[in-house]
Symmetry: C2
Subunit: 310 residues, 2 copies
């Protein structure tokens, strides 16, 4: 059944068109794939610096990964179990000159040509923290302080949408904590409070609520319900194109021992490590700021400008 | 025939291992795919700011695109004609729950599972300037000043290599000029001089030479020879792991009317626009700096630190 056209669809398309008309987003003809103007990027960069200033005293180790991860790491991550529909594998042409001629002919004649592409060893990063777990595991048992990592990368999710706040390629900044259950829960609680205060300093309406990930299929519905019941995921929500369905701009995730077991990460006493992360949706926060303070950043409230431009 | 193992291979592997041991690069188990440490990133960021300071007076328009472009733009770009072996298409799972079970079983049993992935409308960006041409074309005829665009993105090229200076995912900063042949040639000449001066301020040995792109196949060899004969491509080369085969760190490209014709970009008098670009290989420059000034940025020469940290 075709999903019915709703007021939310109109609001999303309207906001997207306004962003494009203002030059903040550059359309590409593919839903969820946009260029950004210099002003849009400056807002993202200033917000990124603001996160750094709130997190600085924690002494996180900075790691920066490209927007893709190793396929063997991706395959082991169990992402395909939960979110097969969102993942993006990178494929290449591996043929000879004859195969190349065939490819070009099919392209020229408007035929399907992509089915000859072969998977590479590279998979799009679905969340900024995915490359971290094997990296931390590789180092051997944790020290008493566990690990705290600062990551930031473009991520891909295959979910074309009219909603400018649901891009196929978007940036996620994260802090990732690896350690004992106490260390990890303390980290998440601290960021639940800091995340709220940080966003309040930007003068946007917000609420924090329990949430779930978009698990695939029928079995996924049970996983989602379980995640909510256990309070494993919270989101900081800001209305962007809908008051009723505000947009998740930050998320606070407790993975329990999921990644610790997968990657065999151990605390000093030999127990399986727990992990948690706080994630900032950079484009979503920028869009929330443009939505609530207008498209002209010079006219934003003084307190918001002070928070971002210092 | 297997390529023979050379001294260059050893030098490349040795430099890579040293970078990994120093923590500057984080291995992933896939050649050409690395994480970067905070220090590595800081060098890239400072170099990026240095480029901006050299280009600032030109008043380029800043555009930032994700590391992928629209498939319909990619297909029209003729990249597949010249470099099919380097391109990366992004594929996703589009099946139902039954297909999902099959996928998971194949993954579990170590079988090939990626052949069920279907192409999305997203293709990895092969060079930072590719999304620019359709964007400029979409705006209609150029004004008298043409267009000058500042772009920066991660790029993908499927060429796994031991050489840390040949990554599969790397960043390219570019200025792109669109206009009359005179405007475009003036731009390229100006950046040939500025690029040399900019890199000399960083205290690295360098040479500028004519070059060609890695065109595919036998026909490609003729294209490459033609490109060299016409002086369409110059590279600024810095020895990183080999004196005999220095690494191209900047490139200065005159495309003549190639992109103007493809995208129907016109100058005010109705002629097909010409284009040129200067590209900075951000990881390659960072690697050249680490190679020539050492892994401890605090011990770099004062003049280099002054150029980067101001």
């Amino acid at each position: 059944m075709q999903a019915s056209h709703t007021a939310t669809d109109d609001a999303q398309a309207g906001f997207r068109n306004a962003l494009v008309a203002a030059g903040l987003l550059i359309p590409t003809g593919v839903d969820g794939l946009y260029g950004r103007s210099g002003v849009f990027e400056e807002v993202v960069e200033r917000f990124n610096d603001l996160i750094t200033s709130w997190g600085r005293d924690d002494g996180a180790e900075v790691m920066r990964f490209p927007p893709a991860l190793a396929r063997h790491h991706f395959e082991r991550s169990e992402y395909l179990k939960s979110f097969p529909q969102l993942a993006g594998t990178v494929h290449s042409f591996k043929g000879d000159e004859r195969a190349h001629q065939t490819l070009l002919r099919r392209l020229e004649e408007g035929e399907e040509w992509t089915d000859g592409q072969m998977a590479t060893n590279v998979v799009m990063t679905p969340a900024a923290c995915y490359p971290i777990y094997p990296t931390v595991a590789e180092r051997g048992p944790l020290g008493d302080d566990g690990a705290l990592v600062d990551v930031y990368s473009y991520c891909f999710r295959h979910e074309p949408s009219l909603d400018p706040a649901r891009m196929q390629l978007f940036r996620m900044r994260e802090y990732v904590r690896v350690g004992t259950p106490d260390q990890v829960m303390d980290f998440r609680q601290s960021w639940l409070e800091r995340g709220r205060a940080l966003m309040e300093s930007l003068g946007v309406p917000l609420a924090v609520d329990v949430a779930n990930d978009p698990f695939f299929g029928r079995a996924g519905r049970m996983l989602a319900a379980n995640q909510r019941d256990q309070g494993l995921k919270f989101e900081l929500l800001i209305p962007i194109t809908s008051e009723e369905k505000p947009t998740a701009c930050l998320s606070f995730n407790y993975h329990q021992d999921h990644f610790g077991l997968l990657w065999d990460i151990r605390t000093p006493d030999g127990a399986v490590a727990h992990t948690a992360c706080v994630g900032f949706g950079m484009e979503r926060v920028a869009l929330a700021l443009f939505r609530h303070h207008g498209f002209d950043v010079r006219a934003w409230p003084g307190s918001v400008r002070a928070a971002l431009w210092g």
